[in-house]
């Protein structure tokens, strides 16, 4: 037995070594790719004037769809923020997903909503839509509020919004997100300017936790003071700026975040809409639309832009963080149990040969490999089989490499736009040194926990993100527009 374990763990450490070499090579490539992608974006933004989209009468309409469940704290500031987007033609669809608090009441009062006889059709199945509201005030004529029975997940609510959307593109966002004024203008650009048919675009998300927000508008971006939120900020910068922008260069984006994504509505509906059973509906949607395009033999692209356009309130307590990560892990597990046939399938091109294999081996399997690696390490230490000088060098290298990647991601982020003061950037860099020690183990533990829950089919629901809100929001005096027919 001892002999077997010795051989197994010795063999395993070689596997881990090869695995790490490959993943570090990929991260190095992604670092380079993301730099090139960001430079290309900066060059393009000098040549392409976004004002053109605002001035042009040809600019396509966009439906902003945001699901709300018990969001009375933030709902008004968020809706105000959405209604003041810098874009010529858009509608805002708020889906009240069976809230039990005063979300709907607040909306009705603030925006002078009245129930209308809306001919609603279930293009995509979802829970029953009870009522639909429009505003009596012409200032909010592009606001539509759908009141429906709770579907248990965001996907069901988004499908309900899609059924009522009248524009050819829709923005999927969360009600706890604060969007930049130019979000729509920035995200629609790749659809207008790419050689291939773009079916989805995304942008960088940031933590809003310590930001100064007034009436739904970001006034001052600040690095979170809460440690957990700060680590998430670092993780987001690395994931979006380095990861997604890197994959963007080779048209292999694995996921468009549910917090901010602009989609071609026709393709989403033809792909069947969002999966209400999925815990990771955002990644599942990307798989669906990519699969649909491959099945119908159409060339497509999914693009990311590096600008930070969305600020979201991240979990600040371990309890809420755990709930979120368990859900994400379950979602990832579901993706591979649903789409395993696409793995290494050349029919699905970059989806089957790059996106899914990378995510399976280096995202899904990573927590297992890491956990087993730790067990292996403990065993080897206990069996006095560790070459200590080499082990320490390797540990220092691994730690340094992960710090380097994170620091480079923070530097790349500063190339795009400098929202944070130098002091705050320094703070981010400092905590990057603690992230692998304090934060990363939590991510691994919750990932494995989530996989276990999914494997054992332990029931859980979406849960609810407890919000602190964005502070006192100034009550806006409603503007009543009287039209005079002469």
């Amino acid at each position: 037995m001892r002999h077997f374990l010795d051989r197994f763990f010795t063999y395993y450490q070689n596997v881990v070594f090869v695995y790490c070499c490959i993943i570090y090579a990929i991260y190095s490539l992604l670092t380079l790719f993301s730099y090139l992608s960001i430079l290309a974006n900066i060059r393009k933004s000098k040549i392409r004037e976004n004002l053109l989209l605002i001035k042009s009468s040809l600019t396509p309409g966009i439906s902003i769809i945001a699901a709300a469940f018990n969001e009375e704290l933030n709902i008004l500031s968020n809706v105000r923020s959405l209604l003041t987007m810098n874009y010529p033609s858009f509608e805002v669809i708020i889906v009240n997903d069976g809230s039990t608090d005063r979300t709907l009441k607040k909306l009705i009062k603030e925006f002078e909503l009245t129930e209308v006889e809306f001919a609603y059709h279930y293009f995509i199945p979802c829970k029953t839509v009870a009522r639909i509201f429009k505003s009596k005030n012409a200032a909010f004529s592009n606001l539509l509020v759908i009141d429906k029975l709770n579907g248990g997940c965001k996907a069901d609510a988004i499908n309900a919004g899609l059924n009522a959307a009248s524009c050819g593109y829709f923005l999927n966002t969360d009600v706890d997100c604060i969007l930049d004024k130019d979000t729509l203008v920035q995200l629609i650009q790749p659809f207008m300017d790419d050689k291939k048919r773009v079916i989805a675009t995304g942008a960088t998300l940031r933590m809003a936790n310590s930001c100064v927000i007034d009436s739904g508008v970001l006034v001052n971006a600040k690095v979170p003071r809460n440690l957990l939120a700060l680590f998430q900020e670092i993780e987001y910068i690395r994931s979006f700026v380095l990861g997604k922008m890197g994959w963007n260069l080779v048209n292999s984006i694995p996921n468009v975040s549910g917090g901010l994504g602009l989609f071609d509505k026709e393709i989403v509906i033809k792909a069947g809409g969002y999966d209400a059973k999925s815990f990771g509906e955002d990644m599942d949607m990307l798989m669906r639309i990519s699969k649909y395009m491959c099945d119908t033999k159409q060339e497509y692209a999914i693009r990311y832009i590096p600008q930070s356009l969305c600020w979201t309130e991240g979990p600040e307590t371990l309890k809420i963080f755990k709930r979120q990560r368990l859900r994400w892990a379950r979602g990832l597990y579901q993706i591979f149990s649903t789409y395993y046939k696409l793995l290494f399938n050349p029919k699905y091109k970059t989806l089957g040969m790059i996106v899914l294999p990378y995510n399976f081996i280096f995202e899904f399997c990573a927590p297992f490999i890491e956990f087993l690696g730790i067990i292996c390490y403990i065993y080897l230490i206990a069996s006095h089989l560790v070459n200590w000088p080499f082990a320490i060098i390797l540990l220092v290298f691994v730690y340094s490499f992960s710090i380097l990647i994170t620091l480079l991601a923070i530097v790349w982020d500063q190339l795009i736009i400098r929202r944070y003061s130098l002091k705050e950037v320094f703070r981010l860099c400092l905590f990057a040194f603690l992230e692998p020690i304090l934060y990363h183990p939590l991510v691994v533990i919750f990932s494995l926990w989530g996989y276990g829950n999914q494997l054992l089919k332990i029931k859980s629901n979406w849960g609810h993100m407890e919000r602190k809100g964005f502070g006192n929001s100034t009550k806006m005096e409603p503007v009543t527009i009287h039209s005079t027919i002469v």
Binding site: L52, L53, S56, E117, F118, A119, H121, S141
Partner: protein, 316 residues
Amino acid sequence: MLLGIAMGDEPAESAAITKKRFDARPLYLLGLSSSAVKKILVNEMFNYRNYFSGSIAERIRRLYIYLSLDKEARRRAHSKNWEVCANALSELFKMDVEIDQAYLMQLITNHNRYIREFARLLLMKFTKEDPLQFLRELNEPLSQWQEFEIFLLFQQKTDYTLGSLEGLLSLTKESSVVSLCLKLAVFFNQKEAIPLLIDLLLTPDLKLRAQTINALGKMEADTGAKHLVNIYPEQPHEIRLKILTALGNIRNTQYLAFLEKEFLNSEDFEIKKIASDAIIKLYPISSGTIETLMENTDKRNQKILHHSMDPLINAE
């Protein structure tokens, strides 16, 4: 400061630029010889030209020329570096400054996409007669962005002679150019292009067919309505929706019965909805039809009609 220098105390309608016109000393004090300062200044000039029109925009343009910034841009437009060249062409385009046409004709076959696009835009901007001639020989699709830019050019320039679109429509094979022509035909309300649009209804390209139907609707082409109704039965679902929308825009009451038939007989929600919208658009002629439908049809149809009639739902 920039506005003050540009406006000075001279009337905007004066002819040639003289040294007396602009007192640009404050700008030179800022360090106009520095390329960074020039860059910021040029960006500010773009912003002012975007936010102001008329004499202020023209004065800013003249100040740009007075400071010899156009000479710099023309020099950079000859750069081998595509980014420098494209930015320079973009700058000249935004500032309404001409550049040697012969050079631009070379650039429209450049390997770089952005250079080709800006060269084309500059050629079109400064060609008053038949500016679309530069699209005839196009053998690559126009990006939607370029379509927007060209369309905006036509929207803003009032002294263009578009010429007949028929010539371009009959010569070009490129569907993106045809798509642009359709939009321009609608914008300029070129009724003489309607027979050509009717011919285009037979195109195998579904997207182009949909755009043609859309254009016929927006131009309220009465002569096209008959053809739309004739081709309706063999069309796929998306095209049928476009036809119904176009019939609503054309507002020819001759087809009210057709719309009513589609509304009542079709099981498809989208067909019903668009037919209902089209019937409502024919109000007040269709008021009798609407009343009859409301009284005699089922709840689902009534709801669709209510939806089409509700000003709160249909407010833009």
